[in-house]
């Protein structure tokens, strides 16, 4: 249970990291280490090179961008939970982070690492899907932006080249009279979600004017329930509307594995979507 030998690099700039990635074919990036280190320890991955990002300045931090929140990829999950700007402008993020691992893992784990590791059950990708966040990727040719919808390519495979680095995430602010709900089901607190549902609702004059629903854990990528979102707009935020959304959630195509059938995931999705929407309707607070 010890890693196989590798050559360790700790660049101090993002450019240096990109150059290292371009030079070394068999390299893995070390961010928070909470996903990579277990894989290294079990020799599940056996890279020749490990490129540690922890000494790089400038790719961590949270900045209020007015209409958006700009988050550096190396921002620790703990810092996302304790940040005032995020608490005010995207409170679903700290709410969901309570479900991410344990406080010891959140002290090291990063948002960038979670988005690049792209575990189907991970909460942060589910939230970035919810917000249609925009990711900034740096490569040898410069920077490019990736809308989150295009980010997951396949099972645990993001849309990033072998010589590229995720440097930041931009989360658009919803504003208005908006509420949020995040509900997850796992066997034990801190376990990976079997299914998670995230919802944002904006209500104006007693009617829903904007809705977003994201389901995690059901498929290899978070599922945006666009059909339900469209149906909710113009409806009153009541139990019937949420039940209808839940029925749409029940119809998603869901993964099956040794532990949980797709039918069970569909049932969970329906229940959790309903609960997330109810929660969102009950905490409309003019900020999120």
């Amino acid at each position: 249970m010890k890693p196989a030998p590798f050559t360790y690099h700790d660049p101090t700039t993002a450019d240096e990291a990109v150059a290292l990635l371009a030079t070394h074919e068999d390299a893995k990036i070390l961010a928070g280490g909470q996903s990579l280190m277990p894989m290294l320890n079990m020799r599940f991955v056996v890279p020749d090179h490990v490129i540690d990002l922890n000494r790089i300045d400038g790719i961590a931090g949270i900045r209020d961008g007015g209409d958006s929140i700009e988050i550096g990829a190396m921002t620790r999950q703990r810092d996302l939970m304790g940040d005032d700007v995020i608490a005010a402008k995207a409170p679903i993020i700290p709410a969901a982070l309570h479900w991410v691992g344990h406080f010891q893992t959140r002290n090291r784990g990063t948002i960038g690492g979670s988005l690049c590791h792209l575990d189907p059950a991970a909460e942060l990708p589910c939230l970035m899907a919810l917000y249609d966040a925009e990711l900034t990727v740096q490569g040898p040719e410069g920077e490019r932006k990736v809308p989150f919808a295009e980010w997951p390519l396949a099972y645990m495979l993001p849309s990033i080249g072998p010589d590229e680095l995720l440097t930041g995430v931009s989360v658009p602010r919803w504003g208005g009279n908006t509420g949020h709900g995040f509900v997850e089901f796992a066997r034990r607190h801190g376990d990976f979600a079997i299914v998670a549902a995230a919802a944002l609702l904006t209500v104006d004059g007693g009617k829903i004017t904007r809705a977003a629903i994201s389901i995690g854990g059901a498929d290899v990528r978070p599922i945006r329930l666009t059909e339900a979102e469209t149906a909710l707009v113009g409806a009153a935020p009541d139990a019937d509307a949420f039940k209808a959304a839940a029925e749409i959630a029940r119809g998603i195509e869901a993964m099956s594995d040794a532990y949980v059938t797709s039918a069970y995931r569909q049932r969970l999705a329906a229940t959790l979507v309903e609960r997330a929407l109810s929660a969102a309707a009950s905490n409309l607070n003019g900020s999120a």
Binding site: M1, K2, P3, A4, P5, F6, T7, Y8, D10, L30, G33, Q34, M37, P38, L40, N41, M42, V50, D52, N54, R78, G101, H102, F103, Q104, T105, N107, R108, R188, H189, G190
Partner: protein, 161 residues
């Protein structure tokens, strides 16, 4: 040829310099490099919590950090929680009083995790404590003694005694 690096770090208030293989975890370095065997390696994939130490005051899994990543940082292990003269800290004394340990394997991780938690949450509810230790697995105690100890220690520390 193994890939090694020179590192310097402070552990329990003392400076140490060493040359380590880059693949060595912080936990293994503390145990084998510095003979601080209080930190225990239970699972080596971050779920059991027995390896938890404080790095710059924050509770982290020493099995999921490389020793080289601790270069220039401040580490506190269970061995660093007592007073200089060996008197048990408030949390340790409470564990003793409330039978918060039996075999002792999870205990170092419990103590370091709770040290950080109580520092940041000086007046927790029982539920808060249970959530705080949800990342530390104990096979012996059933957790009640640990929870009682944490709540008692919180009271003691609040009273400043």
């Amino acid at each position: 040829m193994a890939d090694t690096r020179d590192i310097e770090l402070t552990v329990n208030g003392e400076s140490h310099a060493a040359n380590v293989e880059t693949r060595t975890s912080l936990g293994d370095f503390l145990r084998h490099g510095l003979d601080l065997t209080g930190t225990h390696m239970g699972c080596e994939h971050g779920v059991c919590g027995a390896c938890t130490v404080l790095v710059d005051g924050e509770a982290v899994r020493s099995c999921l950090m490389l020793a080289v990543q601790a270069n220039g940082h401040d580490v506190t292990t269970v061995e660093g929680l007592a007073e200089d003269d060996g008197t048990l800290g408030a949390l340790q004394a409470a564990f003793w009083k409330h039978h918060g340990l039996q075999c002792g394997f999870c205990t170092p991780g419990m103590l370091t995790s709770l040290t950080a938690f109580l520092r940041d949450n000086p007046d927790p509810s029982e539920r808060d404590v249970r959530e705080a230790i949800s990342g530390n697995i104990c096979r012996c105690t059933g957790y009640q003694g640990i929870v009682d100890a944490a709540l008692d220690a919180a009271k003691t520390m609040q009273q400043g005694s």
